[in-house]
């Protein structure tokens, strides 16, 4: 196993426990998606693996070597795309990617080739020679990705790499993430976009209040919900949505977001639910509805609950 994290705990000085007994391992060729609300401890976890933050207790081994005792080894083994924007003022993407590849150990020629290949693969050619201060957030983010990926470490850690990136380039980005794994790196991706990540990751890990609450392949995580479906409906207005959320009978709590109401239902009760929804639609309270398999996003919300910070978006109805 390339990266093995055992019972990792991090207490910050103010008494905040950012990571609490985390066990996690990632092998080369794998892409691990790391999910969790803001403040769940994801970035702290990455910073400990890179050797920027020292664990309070627990171990991190990279290829069998103790990475906590040897932060220089950790830095050599890991390439990190931090969540903060990369320092690009005055530097063009091409220069930044090329220099970072060389700092990470690539030869002159290899750095130039990799830089060109990544710029092409992410369709960044138009901005490749523009200075950083003129670039949009998305292009800066993609450049930061390339800076970590041009001469990747054995472990590549990407902290919210898809933020600000347009949908077309997101797909290109996920292709490059898969390519990194195919070339033998272990990739950790922190992201909030659960649906998108489901297609791109080998395994998922969910952090909640510093603890690892679930870990497995998307199919494994979905397993508990195999006999579940979801009924999604759009009400005519917010008021009606609130009423419908209270009236509907499902296998779990209904979640309302504006006019949208989503409720998990048992597969066996699907026709009953459809009949109910059709009747409500006939009465003009529901504009549209659909019954679909449970998405990984719902599995995730089921594990950690709605984001308290985003409470106004996802009001939960008992």
């Amino acid at each position: 196993m390339l990266l093995r994290i055992h019972q990792l705990t991090k207490d910050y000085r103010r008494g905040v426990r950012a990571n609490d007994g985390i066990d996690l391992s990632v092998d080369e060729g794998q892409v691990l998606g790391l999910f969790g609300h803001n403040g769940a401890g994801k970035t702290t976890l990455l910073n400990q693996v890179t050797g920027l933050v020292k664990p309070t207790s627990g171990t991190i081994h990279i290829d069998g070597a103790d990475a906590v005792a040897d932060p220089a080894l950790a830095r050599r083994s890991c390439s990190l795309q931090p969540q903060a924007h990369a320092p690009l003022d005055g530097v063009t993407p091409r220069q930044a990617i090329d220099t970072m590849a060389r700092i990470r150990g690539a030869g002159r020629r290899r750095a130039r080739e990799r830089t060109g290949a990544l710029l092409d693969a992410l369709d960044l050619g138009a901005w490749a020679d523009e200075p950083g201060q003129k670039l949009s957030g998305g292009v800066r983010r993609l450049t930061a990705f390339c800076m970590a990926a041009a001469e990747p470490g054995r472990i590549v850690m990407l902290d919210e790499p898809t933020n600000d990136v347009d949908p077309v380039r997101r797909r290109l980005l996920w292709e490059q993430i898969a390519a990194l794994a195919a070339d033998g790196s272990a990739v950790l991706v922190v992201t909030h976009n659960v649906v998108e990540a489901e297609r791109g990751v080998t395994r998922l890990a969910v952090l909640h209040h510093g603890r690892l609450v679930a870990e497995g392949t998307p199919a494994q995580l979905r397993h508990d919900y195999a006999d579940r479906l979801r009924l999604e409906l759009v009400a005519v207005d917010d008021e009606t949505a609130l009423q419908l959320a209270a009236e509907v009978t499902g296998a779990g709590a209904a979640v309302r977001t504006g006019r949208r109401v989503v409720v998990p239902i048992d597969a066996a009760a699907a026709s009953e639910a459809l009949t109910w929804a059709q009747r409500e639609r006939g009465q003009g309270r529901v504009e549209e509805f659909a019954v679909t398999p449970v998405s990984i996003e719902e599995v995730y919300i089921g594990l950690v609950g709605p984001d308290p910070a985003g409470a106004e978006e996802g009001a939960r109805v008992a």
């Binding site: 920027l52 020292k54 931090p82 320092p87 005055g90 220099t99 700092i103």
Partner: protein, 241 residues
């Protein structure tokens, strides 16, 4: 060595936009101290003129190392660049050396210009020691080491204030532009241990060798400050919270 070269290139790329401006400002400042103070003291004799000229060189180096450098570090901390640099797989010393090189190089044109203006303005008769270049290098590195120690150890806002204070003290209350005996006794004694007086003395004596020869004490004091500054910087750099 390879890391050093690449980091230097990275620094130059990043600061490319700002370097010309800093260079001009720094040169103006050094020259400005020579010319400006000669307005303040119109009847400057040879000694005063000599103090002002060599003091301008010292102040130029102090400005770059203890004011400009820490302010940019503070800015880097606020924008998150600092942490980014910390995650790079390079030896910490190479990173420090690459930073210091940029700052020292930045100070050189100002030094030359100020010295040139001073010679013209005050008809200075210089007796330059071979130690002049090492002295200036030591003063420059010492400034950067202290500036970085402050910038690394203190919060960005505090570091900004401290660097302003250092400049103020250096300009007005340190025996850089004037002999130490004009200061109150206690302040003069304090300066025996602070780096400012030693910086000025090292530069002064290597540009016009006194009859008693170049004193070694300032070099020892500066080396000590240098070591302390670098040690603090290195400690903060490698510290993992």
């Amino acid at each position: 060595m390879r890391s050093y070269g690449l980091l230097l290139r990275w620094n130059l790329l990043r600061l490319r936009g700002m370097l010309p401006l800093l260079l001009v400002l720094q040169t103006l400042l050094s020259v400005g101290v020579v010319i400006g103070f000669s307005f303040l003291l119109p009847d400057a004799d040879q000694t005063t003129g000599f103090y002002l000229s060599t003091g301008a060189l010292t102040l130029g180096l102090i400005t770059v190392g203890m004011v400009a450098a820490p302010q940019l570090v503070a800015q880097a901390k606020l924008t998150g660049i600092f942490d980014y640099q910390r995650s790079m797989p390079v030896p910490r010393l190479a990173m420090l050396a690459a930073d210091a090189t940029v700052w020292v190089a930045l100070a050189l044109p100002g030094l030359a210009a100020a010295l040139g203006v001073a010679v013209l303005r005050f008809d200075l008769d210089l007796r330059i020691s071979w130690l002049a270049a090492p002295a200036m290098l030591l003063v420059a590195i010492c400034s950067v080491a202290i500036g970085y120690a402050v910038a690394y150890a203190a919060k960005p806002e505090v570091a900004g204030a401290i660097s302003q204070l250092i400049f103020f003290v250096a300009l007005m209350f340190a025996p850089i532009n004037f002999p130490a005996d004009r200061l109150p006794h206690w302040l003069a004694e304090t300066h025996d241990w602070l780096p400012f007086a030693s910086m000025a003395q090292a530069i002064r004596e290597t540009l016009q060798i006194p009859a008693t020869g170049v004193s070694t004490a300032p070099f020892a004091i500066l080396t000590a400050w240098c070591v302390v500054g670098l040690a603090i910087t290195y400690r903060v750099m490698t510290h993992r919270p």
